[in-house]
């Protein structure tokens, strides 16, 4: 990945605030793992008004359960209500916002001002955060939202670190920034490719990722580059600021946001775990902070696209796009979750999440220090019957682990070199 190591801001350090680590949670299980792996807050989608139309979106009941779980860790739950509404979407908005407030949701993330204003009126306990879909890039627009009563603004992904520093210097409001994950290559909200190509409304959750399709570029009926060459695309590499956590903290970003409500449990836990360690380690001792290679390696284990630093240091160039084949599979795959561990026998019960079998190299990791590799030995079902492979989704599998493990630790397996 493109590495920028030069520190952006030098000189005397002021007191640094500890940023919030904000993670996506596509469903209740992902919420629990995100929180357990160190997220200070999670954002989820409800049944309406969100940009991810997905069967997994939370019901009010699930939200309540999520909020209760997060509470135990002192973590908060936010709900994305970030569509640009059409006239017919407005009926039902008040009830919905009420429901969120009653479920104990801490904040909504809204793009359409009418949703913000309605929330302020009918659900005053909900904080309203201005979504990145507003493409807010300057301090005066941030000031406007603050004056309107919004305690937090999620900046456009196009804002640089210097611009963020200037915004923080001018306006006393919480600033949230995307620091990891897939990105729209357009200004957020300023893309209706899907509407034109497939009659699906991007700004109401219908985006079909047309920016990642391949196109031929023409001038006057001549195809600029031949058939055998890489085609044109708008598709961007994914954002990764893990190597630049100190810069983000020093400019005063209040909330570090990870993208990916559609991403897997393994992905979310891995990414949260990496940033959690980087942030904690920096906050504990900023002067002697060192980036650990293993955090980066961990991120790579779940990454399915090449990574870059977006607009934080400069405008993305040719190397920041993905020409040619799009996704590469991540080198590791999720294999199982630890359900329990018996210290006296050294046996763990592991819930199968993907096939694995004796002889395979696996790796355990968890938020409380679990980190080791081993080769899978004998495995059995809970009745004690030996198995040649763990084939059944969610089946509890008994196996010996070389070191102690804890419930909610994860096991991943290497699937390619």
């Amino acid at each position: 990945m493109a590495t920028k190591t030069k520190p952006l801001f030098t000189g005397k350090r002021h007191r640094l605030d500890r940023p919030e680590l904000l993670a996506p949670a596509g469903n209740l299980e992902k919420l629990k793992f995100a929180v357990h792996y160190g997220a200070d807050a999670v954002y989820i989608g409800g049944q309406h008004y969100g940009l991810r139309s997905n069967a997994d979106n939370f019901t009010f009941e699930e939200m309540k359960e999520g909020v209760e779980f997060a509470d135990r860790y002192g973590a908060k739950v936010f709900v994305a209500t970030n569509i640009y509404a059409h006239n017919e979407d407005l009926a039902g908005l008040e009830d919905y916002l009420h429901g969120l407030e009653k479920a104990g949701i801490a904040a909504i993330i809204a793009a359409d001002p009418i949703i913000m204003e309605t929330a302020q009126r009918v659900a005053p306990k909900l904080e309203v955060h201005v979504s990145t879909q507003q493409s807010t890039m300057n301090w005066q627009a941030v000031q406007f939202w603050k004056d309107e009563g919004m305690p937090r603004v999620v900046l456009a992904r196009e804002a640089s670190l210097e611009e963020i520093a200037e915004i923080k210097a001018n306006v006393d409001v919480e600033i949230e920034a995307f620091i990891h994950g897939a990105m729209c290559s357009s200004y957020s909200g300023r893309c209706v490719l899907s509407n034109h190509f497939t009659d699906r409304d991007s700004n109401r959750g219908g985006c079909c990722q047309s920016c990642r399709w391949k196109y031929d570029l023409y001038e006057d009926d001549i195809q600029v580059y031949g058939m055998d060459e890489d085609q044109f695309t708008m598709g961007s590499k994914d954002l990764c600021m893990l190597e630049n956590v100190p810069d983000l903290i020093e400019v005063g970003v209040d909330s570090f946001k990870i993208e990916g409500r559609m991403k897997s449990l393994h992905y979310v836990a891995t990414v949260v775990h990496a940033y959690r360690r980087a942030i904690d380690s920096y906050m504990a001792d900023p002067d002697n902070y060192e980036l650990k290679e293993e955090w980066l390696h961990d991120i790579q284990k779940a990454a399915n696209r090449p990574l870059n630093t977006g607009f934080f240091y400069d405008t993305p160039g040719a190397e920041d796009h993905i020409y040619g084949p799009e996704d590469k599979a991540a080198p590791y795959d999720f294999a199982g979750v630890v359900l329990s561990y018996d210290e006296s026998t050294g046996l763990a019960v592991i819930q199968q999440r993907n096939n694995f079998k004796p002889g395979q190299e696996v790796e355990f990791f968890g938020p409380n220090g679990t980190a080791f590799k081993q080769v899978v030995g004998d495995i059995a079902d809970e009745a004690g019957d030996k198995l040649d492979a763990a084939r059944h989704p969610l089946q509890p599998i008994v196996m010996r682990t070389e070191q102690p493990v804890q419930p909610m630790d994860m096991m991943r397996k290497r699937i390619r070199p």
Binding site: E88, Q133, W139, G189, R190, V192, F197, K214, V224, M234
Partner: protein
């Protein structure tokens, strides 16, 4: 006689503005690309003043385009710029970024504000929200359908402006995507030369007439160009509502916008004439109004055969 809706166009130069006024446009949106987005040409402040001097005695209105996504540096220059365009005598300011609204409170008090966030101006309640904060006009997103546009007009207290002709922007990125692509092709070991005459490489400028095609949509050409504000991709068809303009006139839509970007002056002039004729005919006798086939034929005669005239999203259902 019904009240006439406004016929609004943009222009690339003062000459063109005079020509389009002659053809029947009675309002123009002009400005500089630092503050406005996707303008067919730049009008420095002195030229805005000249445009106003030409327009005022003829009852033509000049609106200043300040609808860009603004960064800190530009915001710092906003009060000075706004003062200048107010002095130049513009009739309204078109905005998308709340920073413009904030600055207008002190620098352009009393000047009407038109809210245009392009694809995100999607409902009347949000229009009213901006109205309570000073906006006087709402420019509807082109992705709305007829029913939504008419309901917006019925429900909103603001003036409603609707685009009725020309292409629309469908994607705006801050990234220089054409240059990035060319750089990618000419990088490192592979070094591909272009198939253009003399192996020239495109710069992405608006004059080059670049377009994108996608394998599944062989007949659709999506114009693409770059400027100081990034990369713009435009629709493959041209919106044309002349046949159905009465539906919008009956509803009392206040302003009809013609997008002149990426078209010849001759084409734009013809389009403006056609809509002028339709508006005048309707205003003279709403009940006896009939669509005149020759208006459409005049446009069709100059229409690029590679670009379809369409109803845009007016009669479409979208899912999400």
């Amino acid at each position: 006689m019904a009240t006439k809706p406004e016929l609004l166009a943009s222009a690339s130069s003062l000459d063109e503005l005079r020509r389009f006024a002659e053809a029947g446009a009675d309002a123009f949106v002009i400005g500089e690309s630092r503050y406005g987005v996707r303008l067919p040409g730049d009008f420095p402040v002195e030229q805005i003043a000249e445009a106003v001097a030409f327009a005022k005695p003829r009852g033509i209105r000049i609106y200043a385009a300040l609808n860009n996504v603004l960064d800190n540096d530009t915001v710092r220059t906003l009060p000075g710029y706004m003062k200048q365009i107010v002095d130049a005598g513009v009739d309204a300011i078109v905005f998308g970024d709340p920073a413009v609204l904030m600055t207008a409170r002190t620098e352009a008090a009393g000047v009407p504000l038109h809210w245009n966030a392009e694809m995100t101006s999607t409902n009347y309640a949000t229009a009213e929200y901006w109205g309570r904060r000073g906006a006087t006009r709402f420019i509807t997103a082109r992705e709305l359908n007829m029913e939504q546009v008419l309901e917006t007009k019925a429900q909103s207290s603001l003036e409603i402006q609707v685009q009725v002709h020309g292409l629309t922007n469908i994607y705006h990125s801050k990234r220089p995507l054409v240059r990035n692509y060319v750089d990618h092709q000419s990088e490192g070991a592979k070094e591909q030369s272009s198939q253009l005459p003399g192996n020239g490489v495109p710069q992405g400028t608006i004059e080059e007439g670049l377009y994108l095609m996608e394998a599944e949509r062989p007949n659709e050409r999506y114009p693409i160009y770059e400027d100081a504000n990034g990369t713009h991709i435009m629709s493959a068809d041209d919106l044309c509502m002349i046949e159905n303009l009465h539906e919008l006139m009956e509803a009392g839509i206040d302003s009809f916008r013609i997008e002149t970007l990426l078209k010849s002056a001759e084409y734009n002039e013809t389009v403006i004439r056609a809509y002028r004729a339709a508006i005048d005919a309707y205003a003279a006798d709403p009940d006896g109004y009939r669509f005149n086939e020759s208006w459409l034929e005049a446009i069709q005669a100059l229409q690029d055969p590679n670009r379809e005239l369409s109803y845009g999203f007016f009669y479409k259902e979208q899912v999400y």
